[in-house]
Amino acid sequence: MNIPKRITVLIAALAFAIFSVAGPAFAQSSVQGSSHALIATPGNSGTPLKLDTSKATLSGTAGQYVKLPARVTNTSNAPVKDVVAYVSLVDVTRGQQAPVDLEDWSAHRAVTIPALAPGQSKDVGWSLRLVKGGDYVVYANAIAGGSSRASVGQEIPLSVKAQKNLNPGGVLPVAIGVPIVAGAALFGPVALRQRRLD
């Protein structure tokens, strides 16, 4: 193999190696970027519903509950039926970006509105139990029965302060004390009996 051919093969091998390492990460970041773009724009076009939230930011300490109020409005000229409003939560803490399972945050239940007349609004809300420290984005969604597009409310940054609690609910004395007391109460007579026999 002559020198130019060797250089070409080397460049191709290097390019392949770089792409195979960096490619998936690049692809992932581009997907994240595009999904972020989707979240950033509250989507009301094509849906008869509009979602407004009075809170601009939310914050709290792990263990607390925070309220997320929202108002669903029917902006069309026709009544809508079977509206389902729900919350979405995304962990945006650096290195932990992922959607969050809301069952753990006690906010997984959807709010259903049987019917909304033209121009009618309905206040809905969720109570989120903050379970883990970090930065999050929370937003409300609503979808009308038979519709294929959901209306997305504005993004609300949620900051949760971590809390290290070594003795929640007084569990520490019980966790340490019961095995010691049980051991002493049960092994004590055995040891005493053994000593008497000796």
């Binding site: 792990a62 263990g63 753990d104 006690s106 139990r129 379970v131 883990k132 420290g133 971590a162 809390q163 290290k164 609690n165 070594l166 929640p168 609910g169 007084g170 569990v171 520490l172 019980v174 966790a175 340490i176 019961v178 095995p179 049980a182 051991g183 049960l186 092994f187 007579p189 055995v190 009996r193």
Partner: protein, 278 residues
């Protein structure tokens, strides 16, 4: 008299038949007291209570403190601790009951017990009573954990009561079943292994996913497993905050299991021998 000959009732027993149920219970209580004293004053019986306390300590502390605060709701944590308490009770029961009669046979002490003026039914009832006392000890150890995990919620005390009632039905039935098996078997170790295998079989529905648990297979499996019945009832009480009315089918199923186990024990009592079965 060959070792294979089944138990012959002592002549004195015929006269004691007239004393009826009072004598039966008195003898059973006597046997249970002796067994409990032996079990609690020996390391073997005490060890299980301490091991259970350590398991409950580890579980409740991890549930409450892991990841700043638990990712689970308090009611879910309480449900896990109460289920664990019943599960530990069944494991300890299986181990203690497995050795109850077959162990006596292995140590060649069964013959002298069978020849003592205590009727066979009282002997086995006493053995079952002593094993249930082991469960009561596990429950007493579990009580502080249930109360501390449920502190501040409205279901802490009902959880304690339901754990006692459901656990006693479930563990009592299991104790009768395993003592019956122990009466028929030759090896205590074999019965213990068999009892643990039965417990694993009963606990297996918990490994099924939520969707599979709701399928016909999961429904039938749950209906047939006494441990699953106890867990479903605890779930309804603690997580779903349902009333006593909703628990009655589960309690009836557990009572049915306990009754069947007692029938099996009575059947095994008639076939008890110095040598045991296979």
């Amino acid at each position: 008299m060959s070792a294979a000959i089944t138990h012959q009732r002592p002549a004195s027993e015929a006269t004691r038949d007239v004393t009826g149920r009072g004598a039966f219970l008195k003898d059973a209580l006597l046997v249970a007291k002796k067994e409990v004293r032996e079990s609690l004053f020996g390391v073997r019986g005490s060890m299980w209570a301490v091991v259970s306390a350590l398991v409950l300590s580890l579980m409740s502390y991890l549930l409450l403190t892991d990841k700043e605060l638990s990712l689970l709701d308090q009611s879910e944590m309480l449900y896990i601790v109460t289920s664990l308490s019943v599960g530990l009770g069944m494991v300890v029961t299986g181990i203690l009951a497995g050795d109850s009669v077959a162990g006596e046979r292995e140590r060649s002490t069964l013959e002298s017990i069978l020849l003592s003026p205590i009727r066979l039914g009282s002997l086995l009832a006493g053995k079952v009573g002593a094993v249930i006392a082991g469960w009561l000890l596990i429950f007493a150890v579990s009580a502080p954990y249930i109360l501390v995990v449920g502190a501040g919620s409205t279901v802490a005390f009902p959880a304690l009561v339901y754990t006692f009632v459901l656990g006693t039905l479930c563990v009592g039935g299991f104790a009768a079943l395993v003592v019956g098996m122990s009466s028929l078997a030759r090896s205590g170790r074999g019965v213990t292994l068999g009892a643990l295998a039965i417990f694993l079989g009963m606990a297996a529905p918990t490994l099924l996913g939520t969707v599979l648990q709701k399928s016909w297979f999961g429904t039938i499996y749950n209906a047939l497993s006494p441990f699953a019945q106890a867990r479903l009832s605890l779930d309804l009480v603690i997580v779903d905050k349902e009333t006593l009315l909703m628990q009655l089918p589960h309690m009836a199923a557990l009572a049915g299991f306990a009754a069947l186990a007692v029938v099996f024990l009575a059947f095994a009592a008639k076939r008890i021998s110095f040598e045991g079965g296979e």
